[in-house]
Amino acid sequence: MAKAKIGIYWAAACGGCDCALLEVDEQILDVVAAADILLWPCAADPKYKDLREYKNGEIDIVLFNGAIRTEENRELARLIREKTKYLVAFGSCAQSGGVIGLANQSSKEEIFSTVFGDTKHWPQQNSVADGYELELPEFLPKLTHLADVVEVDYVVPGCPPPKEVVSELFTALVDGNLPQTGTVFASSKNLCEECSREREQKKITQILRPHEHEPDPEKCLLDQGFMCMGPATRGGCLAVCPAANMPCTGCAGPTANVRDQGAAMLNTVASLIGTGEEGEDQLEAEDAILAQFDDIVGTFYRFGSATSIFKERYHEQNSPAR
């Protein structure tokens, strides 16, 4: 059997997804035995020129991590789509824009000022250094996710994808046994199914933050008032964050059949908030709990803002400034 041809590409990413590929330990050797890696900018030195020379559909599968932030990201996403049979959105950024999707709440000017300081330090799209002409890719007006630019065949969620899920993908790859397209690797159930914490179905009477309060290690984090995204988040990671006493931040995205992860979480939390009794005389106390939220979008849409209505900053006059 001819060896499979695979590629790994990073767009607007932190590099964590590339590291996550190695989390599978020695299984990576099975992958290398079964497949030739044609493209992996993080580990090898392929040129875009080489990629352009492959025939359309010549590569069997490409794991694409990172969001679409620059013109280069977008161009490569389109090029890779042409050259590969199957395209995998690997990790939260490729799946839904990821945590960096929250940058859409700031303008390009605000982002550049924060990163580069004074405008004189801002990178120029075209410049000359040591006699060489340099051209930087355009910074797109908005960050978006892979499926907004090209068709995606599989999704491997997580920030970064947990080794159990990566291993599942590699096993399917090595055995030449990929599931039907559209499959999201990882569990179809939510994270709570995998969490060993004890749930008491309590009401949320206060909103706590993990850097201000130490959670009880045995009890459900939501019961205690920590905004754990477990109920609205796809499982598959074996609930490693709650096991480490940290609330789930929702990196694996929505469960199957849910469109909007943040909305699902918002519903859950709104139903749980309360004093233990429902009634007109409780409304004031409920409002006091609701007032403790300061960043709903950043909490419920930490990884999914770029695929939701919160994918940009609007400018309505009567809206209070942040």
Binding site: L290, I296, E316
Partner: protein, 147 residues
């Protein structure tokens, strides 16, 4: 800008609970009370059934405003559905203002089955408010991206 607003007819989706607000709409109807045709009523079994995703979907698909009508506190047919939606809408409004949207684009109102006149007045004043706010910027950006 003002000219554009004048030409713009607001599109409003109203999720009305079957037991109170929708019955209130029926009463307004049989009483021959007139109100602006900009409101598209959607009957739901309880205001507590209005998922945050339903409201956000309406806004993403082009609604300029979303109104949720439920039973007055203490009157919910399912005991506490209206309290749940009250908390949900409070969080949703805060989320909208966090990204620079006017939180008044989502509005919760208690309208009972006997309040046909309140239904008429609410629909009229809410349509006027949304007309004043102008077209939703969500729709504008959607057109800009895919147009």
């Amino acid at each position: 800008m003002d000219n554009k607003h004048e030409a713009h007819e607001p599109r409003i989706v109203a999720f009305l609970c079957r037991w109170c607000s929708y019955a209130g709409a029926d009463l307004a109807g049989v009483s021959r009370l007139t109100y602006p045709p900009n409101v598209v009523p959607m009957r739901v079994n309880c205001s507590g059934r209005v998922d945050a995703d339903m409201v956000l979907s309406a806004l993403e698909k082009g609604a300029d405003g979303v109104l949720i009508g439920g039973c007055h506190p203490g009157d919910c047919h399912y005991v506490s559905g209206n309290y749940k939606t009250r908390r949900r809408i409070a969080l949703l409004k805060q989320a909208l203002s966090e990204v620079g949207l006017d939180p008044r684009r989502v509005h919760l109102e208690w309208i009972s089955a006997s309040e046909g006149i309140k239904f008429q007045e609410t629909m009229t004043s809410y349509t006027e408010l949304i007309r004043e706010l102008g077209p939703s910027p969500v729709r504008a950006t959607k057109e800009a991206v895919h147009g």
